[in-house]
């Protein structure tokens, strides 16, 4: 790709992107949200046409009219949100759109054969071609999507944040698969936020910022700080600010909490003026713990004491008691995307009679305070970037005036600059507020946990280990305990 440009109205989404990927190479495409990665993907996949610039595959001009044409030319996309038809079988999904036909009828035998061959090529013969796609685990669904690309003989494979929904072990398997595809001579473009992942996998990299390719080269020659600087465009001085924190009285005390089916057992105390982190693998039961605390999932046994209140409660009661959750899933659970910024912010705390004109200045205050980039309180929140949506999701709790904030993956899918703002915001909650608030934070991104939290506990298979000071942990020890459980736990068991 050379000098590819695309503009939408007044916004220059892509302002000259150069990208060269060789066969047998894994090329990492790095950049913050809004840097133009997804627009570039759309241009590559034929969903959007570039305004200028040219693309070539093996020297031939490549100008796909639509995604089907791109697929025929050998360019395949694996999107972050998987695009399988959940009710169809694995075979039907793999050959969707390219079904072999004999005498006007589907050639079922040939379909099964080609699907099985594609799966074998990926060394995943255990996935049954007749299985219904929606019933497979996410990792297997992803393999099916890759098989779909392989089955039509793709030469360029584009993966968008492929590990974002995978557990550690599945991610490892995916990395191995990518290595095999590289060895077979596929050109692979790997889009990610995680510089560490790019360093493990990629041969070369390109950084996008504001729709331009701003740097790149051999992966081995670049250091993490260099890449971060390229992505942000300025030096990130202090990603994890830390004010003077004073631990106050315990606000939330949880004893032997169990939900259905998770968590199995969780005990901890959360104090005023501290950030308590919970590490663990995806599926360990961390989200379920937060949901049970917020009253969203039933509590089977155990005790929850929140300030003066104890016992289980409904979500609305929890809000009233001063504890609420920011969901890990902004789009499906956290926000009502069709409604305005003001509606989303004030949803939990509306007077019986609502005056929209009174909500606007209220909302504008939070917009200014959290530096939310938007047109104003009336703009539908779905039009904002992920980072700005997340700021509103957190502002909802602040507007309501809760004391205990349950944050589930608070920086998932948002850009580095917004991350830094959210870290600063969290630090402000426990240092600059009076009285200081208490934050319980679940995250899969270990540097973030180590940087933001005062204490960290690890959850493994539904059991929460003891909380230790953040300084007592390293990334390695967190990973170890997440995979194997805590020592004290195994003694107890």
């Amino acid at each position: 790709m050379r000098g590819v440009k695309k503009r939408f109205g007044a916004t220059q989404a892509l302002g000259g992107v150069d990208l060269v990927v060789a066969p047998g190479e894994v090329h990492a495409l790095l950049g913050q949200n809004g840097a133009g990665k997804s627009t570039l993907m759309k241009v590559l996949s034929g969903a959007e046409r570039p305004d200028a610039g040219e693309m070539r595959i093996d020297g031939d001009a490549y100008a796909p009219a639509d995604p089907q044409a791109a697929r025929r030319a050998g360019v395949a996309m694996i999107y972050q949100e998987l695009s399988l038809a959940p009710h169809l079988t694995v075979t039907e999904n793999i050959l969707l759109g390219v079904e072999p036909v004999r005498r006007g009828l589907l050639d079922r035998a040939a379909m099964r054969d080609r699907a099985a061959r594609a799966l074998a090529e990926l060394q995943h013969p255990t996935i049954r071609p007749d299985a219904v796609a929606g019933a497979l685990p996410i990792a297997a669904q992803q393999i099916v999507e890759i098989a779909r690309a392989v089955a039509v003989g793709c030469r360029v494979l584009v993966l968008d944040e492929p590990t974002s929904s995978l557990a550690q072990a599945d991610a490892e398997a995916l990395f191995a698969l990518i290595a095999r595809l590289r060895a077979q001579g596929h050109a692979i473009i790997y889009i990610t936020h995680f510089i560490e992942e790019a360093q493990r996998l990629a041969d070369r990299f390109t950084v996008l910022r504001d729709g331009q390719s701003v740097g790149g080269g051999p992966m081995a020659a670049a250091t993490v700080p260099e890449i971060v600087d390229l992505m942000v465009g300025r030096r990130v001085e202090q990603l994890y600010p830390r004010g003077a924190r004073t631990r106050g009285a315990p606000l939330l005390e949880v004893t032997d909490l169990a939900g259905a089916p998770k968590p199995i057992r969780a005990s901890f105390a959360l104090h005023r003026g501290e950030v308590l982190g919970i590490a663990g693998l995806v599926g360990a039961g961390r989200t379920e713990l937060l949901r049970a605390l917020a009253g969203l999932d039933p509590i089977v046994s155990g005790r929850v004491k929140l300030g003066a209140y104890s016992g289980s409660a409904t979500p609305s009661l929890r809000w009233a008691q001063g504890m609420a959750l920011v969901s890990e899933n902004r789009k499906e659970e956290g926000l009502a995307l069709g409604l305005s910024v003001a509606d989303n912010l004030t949803l939990s705390k509306l007077p019986a009679l609502v005056r929209p004109s009174a909500l606007r200045p209220l909302t504008a205050r939070w917009i200014a305070e959290l530096d939310v980039r938007c047109q104003g309180p009336d703009q539908p929140i779905g039009e904002l970037s992920g980072g700005n949506q997340q700021k509103i999701a957190i502002a909802r709790l602040l507007h309501h005036g809760v004391d205990v904030l349950l944050l589930d993956e608070p920086t998932r899918g948002i850009d580095v600059a917004s991350k830094a703002q959210i870290y600063d915001l969290i630090d402000g909650l426990v240092t600059r507020e009076s009285p200081p608030k208490a934050v319980l934070m679940v995250s899969s991104y270990l540097p973030e946990l180590l940087g933001v939290c005062d204490r960290i506990a690890v959850m493994c298979r539904g059991r929460l280990g003891p909380a230790r000071p953040a300084s007592a942990w390293t990334e390695a020890s967190l990973v170890h305990e997440a995979a194997l459980g805590s020592d004290t736990d195994s003694e107890a068991a």
Binding site: A10, A294, L296, T314, P315, S316, L317, R318, W319, A320, A324, L325, S327, E332, E333, G334, L335, A336, L337, G338, L339, D343, N344, L347, S348, L350, P351, A352, L353, V354, R355, P356, R360, P361, A364, R365, I367, A368, E369, L370, V372, R373, C374, Q375, G376, D378, G382, E383, R396, L398, G401, L425, G428, L429, R432, E433
Partner: protein, 354 residues
């Protein structure tokens, strides 16, 4: 209470934070009107209504020398719109909440049967009218309880209650129309006598305006109304925010049933009999009115103004077609085309602004 109150914050709430794409500020009333979301959102539907109206005015003037814009004719259209419009108010609430109510036609029929039955048995008209509203409310309660307790999707629940309620109406009426003695209920939608021309519209039309204001106010200016939008836009997020989702849904179907009952009262007023087979398929006209007015069947969108305009568009079409002397089948084709065109246009507008 703020997280970072040490920071100096200066906000002028009238200035957009980021001015891109915001309309250029214009002084005075025009700007206030333009920035009013009610007006802006319904501009498309209103333009559609105007277009249909002008079309028939011109067509009728040229071909038959009739005046479509005649005040008498306008009043007639308004009176004829009332039944669908009242029911559409209820359907707006239901559709904004992300639900659907297919039982509206059957509930209207049941209400006419109850009213006529009560009048026939000698009840005073006011009591009979209340009986019709209560029947609507009961149907709404049934829908709401089934939706929230059984957790079956509203489409299926109300498909079931559509048949169920229709059956009850037929049973109550012993499968025939119930005649009722004439009372003031019949004047609700009748043309005004000259002696009371100062009222401008008959009482039923005024009742429609009153209900429209009430429902519009409920949706925009009350907590329940905002909760209904939130449940329709994202039920999960609503629950996360502590909104009692089942209670909101129950309220939605109760209101929908009540307004269907009120539409039944209007229907009775026009027919002067209780007809258990009447208003057949009316629910589809009602849903069409909401959708033409910008309501989204996936929830979270819709407005009272839009629904009223939608109902007016359909009635204007019908009136226009029949005054042109076009047969019924032409009307049906035109109405069908308008529904699809209106929604397609709306989607197109959405895509452009997104």
């Amino acid at each position: 209470m703020s997280a970072q109150s040490h920071r100096e914050v200066h906000v002028d709430s009238t200035t957009p934070i980021d001015n891109r794409g915001a309309p250029a500020p214009r002084a005075g009333l025009a700007r206030r009107l333009w920035s009013s979301p009610v007006l802006r959102k319904n501009l498309g539907a209103a333009a559609g209504l105007l277009a249909v109206f002008i079309l028939f005015t011109v067509l009728l003037a040229i071909t038959r020398g009739l005046s479509f814009a005649d005040p008498d004719n306008l009043e007639t259209i308004l009176r004829q719109t009332t039944i669908v419009a009242v029911a559409a108010l209820g359907a707006t609430i239901v559709i904004v909440s992300g639900g659907i109510d297919l039982s509206v036609g059957a509930v209207i029929a049941l209400a006419t049967v109850v009213i006529a039955g009560l009048l026939h048995a000698g009840a005073p008209p006011a009591l009979a009218a209340l009986g019709g509203l209560a029947a609507g409310l009961a149907c709404g309660a049934l829908n709401g309880l089934l939706v929230t307790r059984l957790r079956v999707v509203p489409f299926i629940v109300t498909l079931g209650t559509m048949l169920l309620v229709r059956g009850v109406a037929k049973g109550l009426a012993h499968d025939q129309k119930i005649d009722a003695p004439t009372s003031w209920l019949n004047e609700l939608l009748a043309r005004l006598p000259a002696s009371r021309a100062w009222l401008l519209f008959p009482a039923g039309v005024w009742l429609l305006f009153l209900l429209a204001f009430a429902v519009g106010g409920l949706l925009l200016y009350t907590r329940l109304g905002r909760h209904i939008f939130a449940v329709g836009s994202n039920e999960q997020a609503a629950r996360l925010c502590g909104i009692p989702v089942p209670r909101v849904k129950l309220a939605v179907y109760l209101l929908g049933g009540f307004l269907a009952g009120a539409a039944g009262l209007m229907q009775f007023s026009r027919l002067t009999v209780g007809d258990p087979t009447g208003a057949n398929g009316l629910e589809l006209n009602v849903i069409a009115a909401v959708v033409i007015g910008g309501g989204s069947l996936s929830g979270g969108e819709g407005s009272v103004t839009g629904a009223l305009i939608g109902a007016l568009i359909m009635q204007t079409l019908q009136s226009g077609c029949s005054q042109m002397g076009w047969p019924n089948w032409v009307q049906e084709i035109v109405t069908g085309a308008i529904i699809v065109a209106a929604v397609a246009l709306d989607r197109f507008r959405h895509r452009r602004t997104a």
